[in-house]
């Protein structure tokens, strides 16, 4: 389903004489099969988020190939790659990512803007269902500033599921959450996995390893186990 072949991602930092190249991800090979719940752990700055961005086609690898369902994503045009993200991937960000000017229902419905026409017609009905699935239907008219961190994370999960993608990419989904909310969010993700979706989760928190079907550890841009 997802395949990375010898993928390296290098960033340049600084300017002029102080410019230096940083290898965020180094020659990584990875295969994720359909229905897997892969948990990748590692310390902050080890390249986890970059890896997730590479899988999502949000960052272009410096070398190597990223394939989703056998297609080398960087041979696609921008529209094709966007369509791939829209239809096959849901993204849960580490940072708050709701649009402050939109209420919860509108925020959840946003991905339908990029979905095929037939999926746009009942957008709000599906958004309500998605909110119901994360237990936040009663907060549909609230604005992001009125949500707790846990509620916001659940809204983001609902949004990620809007276009019914087979792959869910989660970047530190439990960051800044208390223990109880963390368990609620992870239970949600387990439920989503139980529906047959593939989940790729990156975290610095070793306590989440047990939720996955496979675990990889990362350090300095490489897998260590």
């Amino acid at each position: 389903m997802i395949e990375l072949r010898q993928v390296t991602k290098t960033y340049s930092r600084g300017r002029g004489d102080r410019q230096m190249m940083v290898k965020a991800v180094q020659q990584i090979d990875l295969k994720v099969t359909a229905g897997e719940f892969l948990v990748i752990t590692g310390r902050s700055g080890c390249g986890k988020t970059t890896l997730l961005n590479l899988v999502a086609g949000l960052a272009r690898p410096s070398s190597g190939e990223v394939r989703v369902d056998g297609v080398h994503v960087w041979t696609m045009k921008d529209e094709e790659l966007s369509a791939l993200r829209s239809q096959k991937m849901g993204f849960i960000f580490q940072v708050p990512s709701l649009i402050p000017a939109l209420n919860v229902l509108d925020n959840v419905a946003v991905p339908t803007l990029f979905a095929p026409r037939e999926k746009r017609q009942d957008a709000y009905l599906r958004a309500e269902r998605a909110l119901e699935s994360v237990g936040l239907l009663d907060r549909r008219d609230a604005f992001p500033r009125h949500l707790s961190a846990g509620e916001e994370k659940r809204v983001v999960i609902a949004r990620a599921l809007m276009n019914n993608p087979p792959i869910l990419l989660a970047d530190e989904p439990t960051a800044n959450l208390d223990e109880l909310t963390e368990k609620e969010v992870m239970a949600l993700l387990q439920g989503i996995h139980g529906e047959g979706r593939t989940i790729l989760l990156v975290t610095h928190h070793p306590g989440l390893i047990g939720y996955g079907t496979r675990h990889l550890a990362m350090s300095d841009g490489k897998f260590t186990s």
Binding site: D78, R85, S86, S97, A101, V110, T112, L113, F114, A123
Partner: protein, 395 residues
């Protein structure tokens, strides 16, 4: 969920900023529209004045300065700058002269209730020979001008026809009105020399004076006669005069005013350009503020074209809304406050015709679109080219 809904909700959600940006565009386009109309009005006034004043030569007293010569067109000839009325007869006797008509400045009324203009002039003219005042009449006079009758310039608009005008207790009847000229005629009451004598006899003019003198003589030449040569001959037959060839006088005045108008148009152009740059800058800042949103939308499946459309349409809505409101507001303001505006700015300008005003409104709006919309292209293009991963990281 549609792009328009996303844009409108976004604008509503950032109401303060949206109102602020729209207000900025409103004030800017309103100001630019008003300035353009006023400048065009000044230009039009100059052109109309040149076309319709009608005289080939304006004869004024010799001992006046060049500045005073220019004031033949702009009014305010002082009483001391008059000449004997006998000059008129001598000039009329010249072979080259087709017709000549005298005018006499009688006095200035300050702060009158009849007009928004600060000063109004009382001028005597000869309706029998006149060819530079009566052609401006709005409607033909019902009967010839008699004693105590007067004709008012276009800026004397706070009084209805047939109502009396009081000049130091002397009652004048307003029996006619002139079309706007954009020159000093707009601020003048014209009376006959007979009325002038009566005004002086009744001591209604504080400075007194004599109706046997004239301030200027407008002269029209027969076809084929050279104005420069005739002007020289005039000095010989009527010593103490200064004949100014109308084209020369107009050219000097036109050059001065045209220079000023051109400078103002240049300044206006620079303001337009600055406005465009500033609009581009404001929207660039907005793009920077919303990097996270861009990153999220890209991750959710938005293509570059969608991000471009989102930012371009959002900016265009604010700019078009603000620009349209500014231009409409400015049009209303100009329409209702024109006399006060012109008086306050101490300029001479003609208000455009209804068709002209509609043209200005549409033209200014289109110009605003042509100039502002390209300014939105850069920030929108920048937003669409942002690397999504970088956008999310840099939040």
């Amino acid at each position: 969920m549609t792009l328009l809904h996303l844009i409108l909700q976004g604008l509503k959600g950032r109401l303060f900023r949206s109102v602020l940006i729209s207000s900025f565009v409103l004030v800017l386009t309103g100001f630019l529209m008003a300035a353009t109309v006023i400048l065009r009005g000044m230009e039009e006034s100059l052109r109309t004045g040149m076309e319709r004043l009608g005289a080939d030569i304006i004869v004024i007293p010799f001992d006046v300065t060049e500045e005073t010569q220019q004031e033949v067109l702009t009014g305010r000839l002082a009483r001391k700058d008059s000449m004997p009325a006998g000059h008129l007869r001598r000039i009329l006797e010249m072979e080259a002269v087709e017709r000549a008509s005298p005018q006499l400045y009688l006095g200035t009324i300050s702060g009158s209730p009849y007009s928004a203009a600060e000063e109004l002039y009382i001028v005597a003219f000869d309706p029998q020979t006149d060819f530079s005042v009566l052609p401006w009449l709005k409607e033909k006079l019902v009967k010839p001008l008699g004693i105590r009758d007067s004709i008012g310039g276009a800026s004397i608009n706070r009084i209805v026809l047939s109502d009396p005008i009081l000049v130091n207790g002397y009652k004048l009847n307003l029996v006619g009105r002139l079309e706007p000229t954009g020159i000093w005629l707009d601020q003048a009451f014209f009376v006959t020399f007979e009325t002038a004598r009566d005004l002086i006899a009744k001591k209604a003019l504080p400075e007194g004076g004599s109706a046997d003198r004239v301030t200027l003589i407008a002269v029209d030449l027969k076809p084929g006669y050279d104005a420069a040569r005739t002007a020289l001959e005039m000095v010989l037959v009527a010593p103490g005069i200064w004949p100014v060839r109308a084209p020369k006088m107009m050219t000097t005045l036109a050059a001065q005013r045209a220079g000023l108008i051109q400078s103002l148009f240049l300044a206006l152009g620079i303001i337009w350009i600055l406005a465009v740059v500033l609009t581009g800058f404001v929207f660039s800042v907005i793009v920077d503020e919303r990097r996270r949103e861009i990153g999220m939308l890209r991750a959710a499946g938005a293509g570059r074209k969608f991000i471009f459309r989102l930012f371009f349409a959002e900016g265009a809505l604010l700019a078009i809304g603000g620009g349209f409101a500014g231009i409409i507001l400015s049009t209303f303001l100009l329409y209702f406050a024109w006399p006060w505006l012109i008086a306050a700015l101490e300029i001479r300008a003609l208000f455009p015709s209804t068709a002209g005003l509609v043209g200005f409104t549409i033209g200014s709006f289109l110009l605003a679109l042509v100039l502002v919309l390209p300014a939105l292209l850069y920030p929108a293009a920048r937003a669409s080219r942002l690397d999504p991963a970088e956008a999310m990281r840099g939040i």
